[in-house]
């Protein structure tokens, strides 16, 4: 990877261009009130050997050998080796925004096929080429609803990922958008309260399916009532769960977003991840992001091009549908190749394994003295249990025993201090699940 050098000659040329002698002189002349930063505190350069051994030591601190039962929106699924073998090909891996149709049919076809798969998975008619991650996709969905309805009030269930809600809040805090959050139960996103909050100012209602606590709820009637008030219904979903669940498109959602990490992307300390967005035909021209379409060339042969570009920044400038115009092509490609490798049947099997292993894990955990059920059995692969003590402390103790036992809800829900959100994927063996139960029993 080449880098941009900053030699003494370069620095000298830059200082001369702004009529300064050196850094201190520039600082003085710029008349900023903060003192000159003490550059001496930045360490001297290191040799390659020193850097590598320092990074190795840091990397060794990563807990890579934990048996993980943490989900909360990001899931530890098996990724077939073929995925990185294909996506690592230099034609895909190194090219940057290769969108000219005459030069990039492979990339464009991959984007088109990704979109087609997302449409089938979500049951929605239109998908974009991807966005940054699940949280920004949800923010973009909210802004789409604001544009489409020209209303500025947004109602969000607290059963939506608290991480995503924090992102909604951060992004919208200077946008004159009224964000109303409605408290929710484990089994129930408080539909009545959500609907009661909808007014003629409401652009959209945002829920999660399955909800953050893992519960699968019915949304059809709810969405009808949201539409009756001329607001849009948005859901954030978990792609793997859709192998078994009714697709959100069939439940009447107008905009569906998801964190696409679970589709062939590794857990990477927060990213790069994959923002999925799919919308109704009615909303497609207000959707942000790139869209790839299939067409025919002058010889009548199939070809792929970017389409509906008039929504985008390079054409519409300040009138564009979003100022986030990048997509996560490589992560979307991972998702595409993963889904293609798994096939419909394989993907369903993964989901069935997740669900049955989670049901088994819940049974074992609930058999432990002092561990109680919170919420019912309508979950996919994630559920909440009540512990007799602080769940965060228990998680800490179990780390020492080699388990990442779950996500302590108290971190985002102060009244749920003793509750633990546990996720089980196809990757966890029966033995690991039994061992988790034994270890949990031992620390309580």
């Amino acid at each position: 990877m080449p880098y941009i050098a900053n030699t003494q000659e370069d620095q000298q040329a830059m200082f001369e261009a702004i009529a300064c002698t050196d850094f201190a002189d520039m600082w003085r002349k710029s008349q900023v009130v903060v003192p000159e930063p003490p550059l001496t505190s930045i360490p001297e350069g290191m040799s390659e050997f020193e850097v590598i051994s320092k990074l190795r030591k840091l990397a060794a601190k990563n807990a890579t050998e934990l048996h993980t039962f943490i989900g909360a929106g990001y899931y530890d699924h098996i990724i077939p080796a073929a995925v990185s073998e294909i996506t690592g090909r230099s034609e895909f891996y190194t090219a940057y925004t290769p969108y000219q149709p005459e030069a990039s049919q492979g990339t464009l076809q991959a984007i088109y096929e990704y979109q087609s798969m997302i449409c089938r998975l979500t049951g929605m008619p239109v998908s974009n080429a991807s966005l940054y991650d699940g949280g920004t996709a949800l923010f973009e969905a909210m802004m789409l609803a604001v544009r489409a309805t020209r209303r500025r009030q947004v109602i969000v269930s607290e059963a939506v990922s608290p991480i995503f809600r924090k992102m909604l809040h951060t992004y919208s805090s200077n946008l004159n958008i009224e964000l109303i959050q409605i408290p929710a139960g484990i089994d129930d996103s408080s539909k009545e309260e959500l609907l009661n909050a909808v007014s003629d100012k409401t652009a959209c209602v945002i829920v999660q399916y399955p909800n953050f606590f893992g519960t699968i709820e019915a949304w059809e009637d709810f969405n009808e009532q949201v539409h009756a008030k001329k607001a849009l219904a948005i859901c954030s979903t978990y792609p793997t769960s859709l192998a078994l669940l009714t697709p959100p498109g069939e439940l009447g959602f107008d905009i569906v977003t998801a964190e696409g990490q679970s589709l062939g992307n590794s857990l990477n300390f927060g990213g790069p991840y994959l923002g999925i967005m799919a919308v109704t035909t009615k909303l497609m021209r207000k959707m942000p992001g790139r869209v790839c379409g299939r067409t025919v060339d002058s010889d009548g042969k199939d070809g792929f091009v970017l389409t509906l570009q008039t929504r985008e920044q390079h054409i519409r400038r300040e009138g564009a549908m979003s100022n986030i115009c990048s997509n996560e092509s490589l992560c979307a490609l991972n998702a595409l190749v993963y889904m293609a490798c798994m096939g419909k049947q394989g993907f369903i099997q993964v989901a069935e394994l997740c669900a049955s292993k989670a049901a088994y894990a819940r049974e074992l955990l609930l058999a432990i003295d002092g561990v109680e059920a919170v919420g019912g059995e309508a979950f996919f692969n994630e559920f909440v249990v009540q512990l007799p003590c602080d769940a965060a402390e228990v998680v800490g103790k179990l780390i020492d025993k080699g388990f990442a036992a779950g996500f302590p809800l108290g971190r985002y829900y102060p009244d749920r201090k003793n509750q633990l959100l546990v996720a089980v994927t196809e990757k966890r063996t029966k033995e690991e699940i039994k061992a988790l139960a034994t270890a949990l029993e031992a620390v309580l």
Partner: protein
Amino acid sequence: MKYYSEAHEWIKVEDDEAIIGISEYAAEELGDITYVELPIEEDDVVVGDTLGVIESVKAASDVYSPIGGTITEVNADLEENPGLVNESAEGNGWICKLNNIDVSELDGLMTPDAYVKYLKSLA
């Protein structure tokens, strides 16, 4: 009476209602029109507000209101058949109607003769 703006919108005022579209010249320049984003009924606009967007195979252009008022009707036929603007930009391809207008705002616009001269000056 019909008037034209420098941005190539036409406006015809009958009684106290105005009807607005883009000129035949503009439709020709844009090429095949693929989509018209219409204004919203009951919206109030002032001179220069964006009424909507016309997308063609060549470009996407905002349509600006040559007059202030309240949108009373939009040409819903354009949703299904945006090509009407190419076929009949100053007829069936109209975009919207407004009331609550102030005819004195028409003073800054061009008569058909003046618009023809204006087009010649662009050539």
